[in-house]
């Protein structure tokens, strides 16, 4: 061991020291941050690279791009540029669709009379489509969605044949979506709230529902490598490396530009996680939500009524449950979009919310009502999972059994400024645009991205390139969406929500690193 290091370690080990300087001053042991710690004096984001001049467009950026050089390339400015990248992605993904499911270049986001539109990402494959019972191969990209067989059988029993047929038609054409997940612990009982923290119940007493979708490059990687089944994952025998988005580059690796922007070459893998709430009649008329007709399925499951999560069977009420299939109108309330690219191989983690979701802890309680917070019941503990039993078949009437959620880490001043900027642009397309009611919470990105050359054996395989630093220093350290990480917000390492911190642990069904996505854990074994 070299001398300085040995000297330092010895000093640390022995904690050796003599005397004490006269200048020492007594300071409280308390290290609590001051109360205004989160109010930061961040710059606004008006100088975001490509920000003010960036057009609203339907092309999903293939990768992150910043024009900044030298000292300008600091954490704050790059955060602005990543936030712009997230907004551009959000707009392109929510662009109106053409008949083939892609973006319709003849239209603009939110350009319809009611300010809403069917979106590109809603035509992508859901995890229910991809990970079939018994490891069955999913249907081809672009084929009509199907209801799960178990739901079809129950639906026939629950509805008249004609009504069922209409439901199926709506599902097949994409006009109606299928939703079921509310909490973890069961094939369908899946909240997308991490660590089994509980369901999200809105102020109408309705359970939020969740879905995960993936784009075509990600879907094809899974299908081509037989990763949709547990058997296929076991047989794969290689590292899982989803395709990276990338720009066209010259032989020196410099991105080729057109109209001041890099030219997209391949979009790479993208995953979306969406949170929806059942809309009341007045919410439907508010024009503040992206809306979808939905078929919401709650199967019979006595675990729901368990009062003790540790012993669900023993503590379940001995009642016979009936499954419930409801046709409702849902509103989008939360939206994660995660994109893998050459310059961001640890993926770019952006999260958006509907603006009426929750107030901010310690901030001004400025709205008359929120989707997931009650001003009338401000005596309730916040960010605590609703008490069991959970029964999503019917609305919760007891207001104290609903979710009371606040945002723990405020949206930064810079991101707020950028949100205002994009909202103005969306209003310029259509003053009634529902998309102006969605805000970026933040973007988490690696400050030390594991960038590789296209010829490298470890191309786009971040943990292989940086085994000691696979996450690459996420910024911000913590990030959560009030609808999807409702109960784990905060700033405690390993406990509070961090996109990359959590997804760095994701594996396949046979416990191999799955490239920052948990979706592969859903694969089932084929029937022998």
């Amino acid at each position: 061991m070299n001398r300085p290091l040995r000297r330092c370690l010895a000093a640390v080990a022995a904690l050796a020291s003599v005397g004490c300087p006269q200048q020492r001053v007594a300071v409280s042991r308390s290290k609590q941050p001051p109360s205004d710690i989160f109010l930061g004096r961040e710059n606004n984001c008006e100088f975001a690279s490509g920000g003010p001049a960036a057009p609203i467009g339907y092309d999903i950026p293939s990768d992150f791009h910043s024009d900044r050089v030298g000292a300008e390339r600091d954490l704050r400015n790059l955060q602005c540029d990543f936030d712009v990248y997230s907004w551009e992605t959000f707009i392109a993904m929510n662009w109106p669709t053409s008949k083939d499911g892609g973006a319709d270049p003849a239209r603009r986001i939110g350009d319809s009379a009611n300010g809403d539109n069917a979106t590109v990402w809603e035509r992508w494959k859901t995890t229910t489509d991809v990970f079939q019972p018994n490891g069955k191969m999913p249907s081809a990209w672009g084929s009509p969605p199907e209801l799960p067989l178990s739901v079809q059988q129950n639906a026939v029993e629950l509805h008249a044949a004609a009504q069922s047929s209409a439901i199926y038609d709506g599902i097949r054409t994409g006009d109606v979506m299928f939703l079921t997940k509310i909490a973890k612990g069961h094939e369908w009982f899946e909240t997308e709230q991490p660590f089994n923290t509980g369901p999200l119940i809105d102020q109408n007493g309705e359970y939020a529902r969740f879905e995960i979708l993936m784009n075509r490059p990600m879907f094809e990687y899974i299908v081509d490598n037989d990763l949709f089944s547990a058997d296929g994952q076991e047989a794969f025998g290689k590292r899982i490396v989803f395709p990276c988005g990338r720009f066209k580059k010259d032989s020196n690796g410099v991105a080729l530009m057109a109209n001041g922007r890099p030219i997209n070459e391949a979009v790479g893998a993208i995953v979306v996680k969406a949170a929806w709430k059942v809309l009341s009649t007045s919410e439907q008329a508010s024009g503040r939500f992206h809306m979808r007709k939905a078929l919401v399925w709650t199967p019979a499951d006595s675990n729901l009524l368990a009062t003790d999560p540790v012993k669900p069977r023993e503590s379940s009420r001995r009642v016979s449950l009936t499954p419930v299939l409801r046709q409702v109108t849902m509103g989008l309330v939360g939206f994660h979009v995660v994109h893998k690219s050459e310059d961001v191989p640890q993926w770019n983690w952006a999260t958006f919310e509907q603006v009426d979701n929750v107030p901010t802890l310690g901030g001004e309680n400025e709205k008359a009502s929120y989707n997931f917070y009650s001003r009338e019941h401000s005596d309730m503990a916040v960010n605590v999972a609703p008490p069991r039993p959970w029964d999503p078949r019917t609305p919760v009437t007891n207001p104290y059994a609903r979710s009371q959620i606040v945002r723990v880490i405020p949206i930064s001043a810079a991101t707020k400024h950028l949100n205002d900027d994009y909202h103005a642009r969306l209003r310029a397309v259509n003053p009634r645009s529902v998309w102006q009611y969605y805000e970026l919470v933040s973007t988490q990105w690696p400050t030390r991205p594991a960038v590789t050359k296209r010829t490298d054996a470890a191309y786009c395989d971040a943990p292989r390139v940086r085994p000691a630093d696979p996450l690459g220093g996420p910024a911000p350290v913590f990030l959560g969406n009030a609808t999807m990480e409702s109960y784990i917000q905060g700033t405690v390492p390993n406990t509070s929500s961090s996109c990359m911190g959590c997804h760095g642990n994701a594996t396949t069904t046979n416990a191999k690193f799955s490239d920052f996505t948990y979706v592969l854990e859903r694969a089932q074994r084929r029937k022998p």
Partner: protein, 167 residues
């Protein structure tokens, strides 16, 4: 170009700890300098600013300025390592230097007059970014960023964690 107090503190820390400035990358990534007014509890880095702030709180601004000025002045005519050794022998500034080393290696403040008693953990981020874990080619108890199953493999080589100054 005039070196700022933060930069001088980083160079002094490097000389005291025996690792290159780049080894503090998790604390101060040179590629992405961090403005000092960002939320320290949600910024991935900048232990450097956090530690110099802690030092000023604990020993006083004038003591810090005096230490950094002496280091900067003597470094004009002697190697940083030699200056660091001189400082460690100094009855006034030596204890401060040892506390600086302990901050970097352990993420913990040890008062100069009670060098055997940990006074407080500077922050959760400081604890998990402490150099001791890197020297061990490991990670803090209760916190790992490594991918699932890492324990079945040899740890990555020391040079992937930090660069030791080889004299």
């Amino acid at each position: 170009m005039i070196e700022s107090e933060n930069e001088t503190f980083l160079v002094l820390s490097s000389a005291l700890c025996g690792v290159s400035v780049d080894s503090f990358v998790a604390a101060t990534p040179p590629k992405f300098p961090v403005p000092g007014d960002l939320n320290p509890h949600n910024t991935p880095i900048d232990r450097n600013s956090e530690f110099i702030r802690t030092l000023r709180e604990q020993v006083g601004t004038s003591a810090v300025t005096s230490l950094l000025e002496r280091f900067g002045h003597e470094r004009q005519t002697a190697a940083s390592d030699t200056v660091a050794q001189n400082l460690l022998r100094d009855p006034e500034q030596g204890p401060i230097c040892r506390s600086i080393m302990k901050m970097w290696f352990l993420g913990v403040w040890f008062a100069c007059d009670r060098p055997y008693d940990a006074h407080h953990v500077i922050s959760a981020q400081a604890y998990k970014d402490a150099l001791v874990w890197k020297v061990m080619q490991s990670h803090p108890m209760g916190y790992s960023e490594w991918t699932f199953g890492y324990w079945a493999d040899d740890p990555p080589p020391l040079e992937t964690f930090l660069t030791v100054i080889d004299k």
